[in-house]
């Protein structure tokens, strides 16, 4: 049983299309986590056919993903797909990646924008921001990856049980990579397409992710 987890915060313009695309690809269990949106995100996702879990107040993407993970785990999911609600990811990438997870008996697949040429991103992001971020990620997680921080991820049930997201904000990406290393999970990167309608995480966002990740170690 495959569950697609879609965190969404004020995504009324994109969420309907995202959910319909996922159903068109043949997925039955689409779960949208409406993370305290103040627009029609939840209603539009529900009318498109998704199961909607609503955070009464906005808690961040990491918190929404963990809510989805917990729901999927309790619902008996064998595979969970993390998929952004802003319409930037391509639903056609999922089936191939799930196939790879199964045939290679992997615990987790991480999407990468650098393994094919479909993703066109701003020059400064490709050549300055992301190389620096990759290096910082490697220093703090111990895993060398071709990409950092995109919303595409596939988890087997064993990975779903092992990984607990405590970072409510965007630092959950780094936290998940760190937990892959800690739990010795088998993983692969898989090419995905990301269509850029806006810049996404900039330098300030990157620094916030780093400080959240480091500070989080003092809390537990």
């Amino acid at each position: 049983m495959v569950f697609i987890i879609v965190p969404a915060y004020n995504e009324e313009e994109a969420i309907g299309r995202v959910v319909r695309d996922l159903f068109q690809q043949g997925f039955q269990n689409v779960v949208v986590i409406d993370d305290g949106s103040i627009d029609e995100t939840g209603a539009l996702a529900r009318s498109a056919g998704a199961t909607v879990l609503r955070h009464s107040i906005n808690r961040g993407q990491g918190a929404a993903l963990q809510t989805g993970n917990q729901y999927a785990l309790e619902s008996g999911a064998e595979i969970v797909v993390h998929f952004d609600g802003d319409g930037q990811l391509n639903a056609k990438d999922i089936a191939l990646a799930i196939n790879r997870l199964n045939t290679e008996k992997l615990d987790i697949i991480l999407g990468s924008r650098f393994l094919d040429s479909r993703t066109h991103m701003p020059w400064s992001k490709r050549h300055i921001l992301l190389p620096i971020s990759r290096w910082i990620n490697f220093v703090f997680t111990g895993l060398q990856l071709s990409d950092v921080h995109n919303g595409f991820r596939i988890l087997s049930r064993s990975a779903l049980k092992a990984i607990v997201i405590t970072q409510d904000g965007m630092a959950h990406n780094t936290e998940i990579v760190a937990q892959i290393k800690i739990h010795n999970l088998t993983f692969a990167e898989h090419p995905v397409e990301v269509r850029y309608y806006e810049y996404g995480q900039g330098v300030r966002g990157g620094l916030k992710i780093l400080s959240d990740f480091l500070f989080g170690h003092f809390v537990n």
Partner: protein
């Protein structure tokens, strides 16, 4: 005795009575009360005999007593801010857990709970 010494000592006494009041109502534990009272007693001694900071400062290699007080205060303040940040982050995580429980209690959002 200078005016500033009188003002400071009155303030320290007021703070000590506040601490004792909170101990009586059960808001502060015994250990915390002892720590705060010690703090205010030391502050009162320093206010009464300012030269004592000069001697202590010299012991640790700092020229002026006032500098020692500033350095110590800064270090304590930084530590307290850090502890507060950790506490705020813990509360944030608890709020997230509660929000998650509410969300999982009402799948499909049909019985939405508005906070």
């Amino acid at each position: 005795m200078t005016l500033i010494q009188v003002i400071l000592i009155i303030f320290f006494l007021f703070a000590s009575f506040k601490v004792l009041g909170r101990w009586r109502t059960g808001e502060l534990s015994g250990g915390v009360v002892v720590m705060w009272l010690l703090f205010w007693i030391v502050a009162t001694i320093v206010a009464l005999i300012p030269d004592i900071t000069f001697r202590v400062a010299h012991l640790v290699g700092i020229g002026r007593g006032a500098d020692l007080v500033v350095y110590l205060s800064l270090a304590i303040l930084f530590f307290m801010v850090f502890r507060l940040m950790v506490k705020v982050e813990r509360i944030n995580r608890d709020i997230t857990k509660l929000t998650r429980q509410l969300a999982l209690m009402q799948p499909d959002g049909k019985r939405e709970i508005n906070l």
